[in-house]
């Protein structure tokens, strides 16, 4: 039986991990993701899971151990944030190239410097090109649901790619929220008792070598399958979401449209900001403004076609980025959306707002300013920083 409980984002993720009951977890503490690791370690200590927990001495070693364990053929999870994720960067693309379905709880936090513990998306966005699926969450419920789905998605033979599910640091990770926790048995049934691995390193009867050196003649052939799997994963994400909806009632997609059907002005956002934005859109709608929002749930694979289709009738669009590419061409979400629209016959005028760096609050008046600016979008610069003192 499922039950409704109050949980923070971290507690919700740790709870999902308990139910997933991975074979190996290797992790290292970092604010705001520490709690996930602590709560899970207690589950291990209390015998609530069968996991071999490797309390490593760094995030680099956490991801390295995850690669070792996953190559050995078992189900593997970890959790981290910010500097910890940065320390993992070297190993993230190796996990993808070896096609290891490691699942990570990633709590979005600004990267140093200056050192800062609060939310933005710069840590996760800098990891966008490493061959990991990236699923963002608007709230704890989504984080919980997505983490469970992530196991199925990552382990699907059409995908076999590592996957990170993110929450926004403190905003979701530390805020109590009412969420529905599924029955343990239902989770097990949904994800399957065990990972079905091919090419196990521990298959002593059929020894293999894993992680070879490629010269010019094979490297390309080992990278393109990652691109293909990423492309194929869209279908799998949707299939898994459909099954999840049928069984448990909550429906997910690659994107979520909020009052977009007839929208003339709209924003694009990821994560917790979407909740705040919905309030603003309702206020605008009450005043007769045809406002809407597109929430990106899955950033990798990038749902370009879906985004273009959903936004093609919008006249003016603001993309909200909680991170910057420092290219003077806007944030990651903006540049990818603008590129997606290049071939489209019908497209909105698009502008970019970079906001909320280092946990700077994004409030209702700020979001109203964004919609206000869309009235004269032609006068807007390509990219502007929202909420920064000059």
């Amino acid at each position: 039986m499922s039950k409704i409980v109050a949980k923070t984002g971290n507690e919700a993720m740790a709870e999902a991990m308990r139910q997933i009951n991975p074979d190996v977890v290797a992790a290292y503490p970092i604010t705001p993701a520490t709690e996930i690791v602590m709560i899970f370690a207690k589950y291990v200590a209390d015998g609530l899971v069968d996991t071999n927990f490797v309390a490593v001495e760094s995030e680099h070693s956490a991801m390295s151990a995850c690669v070792g364990a996953s190559a050995a053929g078992v189900r593997v999870m970890t959790g981290t944030s910010s500097q910890g994720l940065c320390l993992m960067y070297e190993i993230l693309p190796i996990a993808a190239a070896l096609r290891l379905p490691i699942v990570m709880c990633d709590v979005n936090r600004a990267i140093s410097g200056p050192i800062n513990i609060h939310c933005d998306h710069s840590d996760t966005m800098a990891a966008r090109d490493f061959g990991w699926l990236q699923i963002f969450s608007e709230n704890s419920q989504e984080a919980y649901d997505s983490l469970i789905q992530a196991i199925r998605i990552a382990e699907d033979p059409r995908v076999h790619l590592p996957t990170m599910v993110t929450t926004d640091g403190f905003i979701i990770s530390h805020c109590l929220d009412k969420i529905e926790i599924l029955d343990d048995k239902d989770v097990t049934a949904f994800i399957g008792q065990d990972r079905k691995a091919n090419n196990r390193l521990l298959d002593l009867k059929n020894p293999t070598s894993v992680g070879l050196l490629d010269l010019q003649d094979y490297y390309f052939e080992h990278r393109v399958p990652v691109a293909q799997a990423m492309k194929d994963s869209k279908k799998v994400i949707l299939e898994v979401a459909d099954e999840f909806a049928k069984k448990f009632g909550r429906k997910y997609g690659l994107i979520e449209e909020y009052k977009l059907a007839d929208a003339e002005v709209a924003i694009v956002a990821l994560g917790s900001t979407c909740g705040t934005a919905k309030v603003v859109i309702d206020e605008l709608r009450a005043k007769g403004v045809k406002a809407g929002m597109l929430k990106i749930r899955v950033f990798r694979p990038f749902p370009a076609e879906e985004i273009v289709k959903a936004l093609s009738n919008v006249k003016a669009l603001a993309v909200l980025d909680r991170s910057d590419t420092w290219s003077a061409q806007g944030g990651q979400v903006f540049t990818e959306i603008r590129s997606a629209f290049y071939e489209a016959a019908k497209k909105p005028k698009i502008t970019n707002f970079i906001y909320g760096l280092g946990g700077r609050e994004i409030d209702l008046p700020q979001l109203h300013t964004v919609f206000e600016s869309l009235k004269n979008i032609d006068k807007q610069p390509v990219v502007q920083y929202l909420g920064v003192r000059e």
């Binding site: 293999t208 080992h222 399958p225």
Partner: protein
């Protein structure tokens, strides 16, 4: 390049079956080759345990010859051979004859 498999036919991930390097011949790296004199050999297997290229062939716990397909001619085996005064392995210049053969 053309006979090499494309990405669609490679196994998933960066994986191969164990031991495929045996198909790769390094015998033509040699400028000298170890020549074995069975009549002097005491089958101590010092050559076998010392060879970096797994190129001393041992059957039924006895030295039986050299794998010239892979032997790189380093000379360690001959140097380690304890038989005196004439060693059971001697390094000889690699002549024009076929380099990769048993």
């Amino acid at each position: 390049m053309s006979e090499k498999p494309g990405w669609k036919s490679l196994p998933e991930g960066d994986v191969v079956k164990a031991g495929t390097a045996a198909e790769f011949k390094t015998g033509d790296w040699r400028s000298e080759r170890p020549v074995w004199f069975p009549e002097r050999c005491i089958h101590c297997l010092f050559c076998w345990i010392s060879c970096p290229d797994s190129s001393i062939i041992v059957k039924d716990q006895k030295m039986t010859g050299i794998d010239y397909d892979h032997c790189k001619g380093c000379g360690i085996c001959a140097k380690e051979c304890p038989v005196k005064p004439q060693k059971a392995l001697e390094m000889k210049p690699e002549r024009g004859e076929e380099t990769c053969q048993k």
